[in-house]
């Protein structure tokens, strides 16, 4: 189904196409069951950035506010990339491991249940 218009064919301008981000791309990251953060975050990153810098610089910069962040056991973390189980390689680039423009990355920390064990 497409937009009903008076025009024969109607094509919308894709406002968030990757070209509009000047060489960078978006990636969304959410920490499951840690609702101190009301939603996942939107980050502007270089496709050539390593996963390590995404995790230790970009993500740490916002998720680091959480009292549990320093205690995360990264070996047991389960990742989802665009809904599929995913094993990140720390020193590979985002682009090389399929983290594309507007990809959603979620991580779950099975030993940590949030502030007051309430998923916060």
């Amino acid at each position: 189904m497409t937009v009903k218009t008076t025009a024969a064919e109607y094509i919308g301008e894709v406002r968030d196409r990757v070209e509009n981000f000047h060489g960078n791309q978006l990636v969304y990251v959410g920490w499951d069951r840690h609702l101190m953060f009301c939603s996942a975050f939107t980050f502007l990153v270089a496709p050539a950035a390593s996963f390590r810098s995404l995790r230790d610089d970009v993500m740490a910069g916002v998720f680091g506010e959480h009292p549990e962040w320093p205690t995360i056991n990264w070996d047991s973390v389960r990742w989802l990339l665009d809904g599929q189980p995913f094993t990140p390689e720390l020193d590979k680039t985002l682009a090389d491991q399929g983290i594309g423009h507007k990809s959603l990355l979620r991580f779950d920390t099975p030993e940590l249940h949030g502030f007051m064990n309430a998923g916060v």
């Binding site: 894709v14 939107t42 506010e65 309430a118």
Partner: protein, 499 residues
């Protein structure tokens, strides 16, 4: 010889239906080019029943009387420093959200009704829409005049018009109306007159007007009552349009159902901000948002959809999900604003202990389990001198533009993530409802102007948030935003009260 004075019936006829004429040398289809493309079939416009039953001259007379009374009260309010009678300065923050979120969409309603008031082939529908258009313009004006008194004494009310299509949370109501106004004329009426003004309007106006009354704000109470008599006519138009479309042709039924589904869902997402005002921003509470939903949607809406069933119309899709989420919506929304209180044009705060207990009582299934712990964390951080402000930018829903704060009905500790791919691009949604709306009209919603993405594209005046807020949003940074505690609003209030 004609009588000098027309009787009421003739006058009504001549000033409404008689304003139409037969097209003798122009093609009627070219005169009303938007009337058919939505697929709606109208077989007989004369069956349209005028919902307003007013002629223009009577309309001017009534409205002028209303204005006279209203402005007399505004004058008295200003002369008596009426703002000093409000319950608590926190209350004014609800007015800031109202002025930025509601007043500009009243203006969009005025524009939208002026447009469709030209485009319908039936004169009855045209006249009704033109009158409503003028009503909506009056609402804009009276709201601005009511708020201008508060603007002299409180921060954050000075640039509502500049903020309405730029600031991240204002884009929610703004884009709602952009969607409706860029739809065809019948969808516009279904969206605004039926779904918004008939089905959901009480959830906006009752909390506000009762909220104003409970919190000593006579200016808002007065403009509320003044527009309520207009609203009654608008609701009649909303009911007339759906019945008229359903009675005109059976092919209209599935089209109308789709619009009912879409606009109900969009409406509930817009109401998130109202839910938070009711439960968190009103110092003197009227009722809980959950209770308002039960009275004004579940009971009233239930009866309405029972009535519409004979046309083959079903209650809106996902109504069960929306209703289940009403136990969560206000808590999630206020937490969203508390998280991003640094980037908001009004103040946020931790509820008092008394308020936390009120929330526990009103939301026995959800508050203590899911939401009180967040406030305990916020209190702990505040006590340590680190008031929590989230540092990043949130992920937004591509349809409703609300931050993706929604949680799953069967597990409120899990955020809802829905997505789709269209022409190789990824799109994310807060709900199945928003997902379905996108998938139905992707070429429309690939154009969504998402405030977070716009900042990151560099289209909002700067790379850091403070520059965006100062230069692009026109906020007085450090004054309009941040916590209520220690704000200039709070300090001034204390001075006035100790004087």
């Amino acid at each position: 010889m004609a009588a000098k004075k027309l009787n009421m019936k003739d006058k009504y006829k001549m000033l409404t239906r008689d304003l139409d004429w037969e097209f003798s040398y122009q093609d009627r289809k070219e005169a009303f080019p938007y009337e058919e493309y939505e697929g709606i079939k109208i077989t007989d416009w004369s069956k349209w029943e005028d919902p307003f039953r007013l002629t223009m001259d009577a309309y001017w007379k009534y409205q002028a009387e209303k204005e006279k009374k209203l402005y007399a009260i505004f004058d008295a309010f200003a002369q008596n420093n009426g703002h000093l009678n409000i319950s608590d300065p926190r209350y004014v923050n609800a007015l800031k959200v109202f002025l930025g979120g509601v007043t500009p969409v009243e203006y969009q309603a005025y524009q939208g009704f002026a447009h469709v008031g030209r485009q319908f082939g039936g004169v009855g529908a045209r006249v009704a829409c033109q009158m409503q258009s003028i009503d909506e313009l009056r609402h804009v004006q009276t709201q601005i005049h009511a708020m201008s008194h508060y603007n002299k004494f409180f921060d954050g009310l000075h640039n509502w018009n500049g903020m309405q299509d730029k600031v991240w949370y204002m884009s929610v109501p703004t884009s709602f109306f952009h969607d409706a106004r860029s739809s065809g004329p019948f969808e516009f009426l279904l969206a605004i007159s039926f779904s918004f003004e008939y089905v959901l309007t009480n959830l906006l106006f009752v909390p506000f007007m009762s909220g104003a009354a409970y919190n000593g704000d006579m200016a808002t109470v007065t403009f509320g009552f003044s527009s309520q008599s207009d609203e009654a006519r608008h609701m009649t138009l909303g009911l007339e349009v759906i019945k008229f479309l359903l009675e005109q042709h059976e092919d209209n039924v599935p089209i109308v159902q789709k619009w009912v589904d879409k606009w109900f869902w969009r409406g509930t997402r817009v109401l998130g901000i109202v839910s938070m005002m009711m439960d968190y921003m009103l110092p003197n509470k009227v009722m809980s948002w959950r209770e308002a939903w039960e009275i004004y949607f579940e009971q009233a809406g239930g009866a309405l959809f029972k009535d519409l069933a004979r046309y083959g119309i079903k209650p809106p899709k996902y109504v069960d999900i929306a209703t289940a989420q009403m136990d969560h919506m206000s808590h999630q929304t206020w937490w969203n604003f508390y998280n991003f209180g640094e980037a908001a044009g009004f103040h946020t705060w931790i509820p008092s202990d008394k308020e936390l207990d009120w929330l526990s009582e009103k939301y026995p299934q959800t508050f203590d389990k899911y939401y009180r712990p967040r406030w305990e964390l916020a209190k702990k951080m505040e006590a340590e001198g680190k008031r929590f402000y989230s540092k990043g930018l949130p992920q937004l829903c591509n349809t409703c533009q609300v931050a993706m704060i929604n949680t799953e009905v069967d597990d409120p500790t899990m955020l809802v993530y829905r997505s789709t791919e269209y022409k190789g691009e990824k799109y994310h949604f807060c709900s199945d409802g928003c997902h379905d709306i996108f998938v139905d009209e992707p070429e429309k919603f690939v154009q969504s102007w998402l405030p977070v993405h716009q900042i990151l594209q560099g289209n909002c005046g700067g790379a850091d948030l403070e520059t965006v807020m100062r230069e692009y949003y026109g906020m007085d940074v450090g004054v309009d935003n941040l916590d209520m505690k220690g704000s200039p609003d709070e300090l001034r209030w204390k001075e006035w009260k100790s004087a």
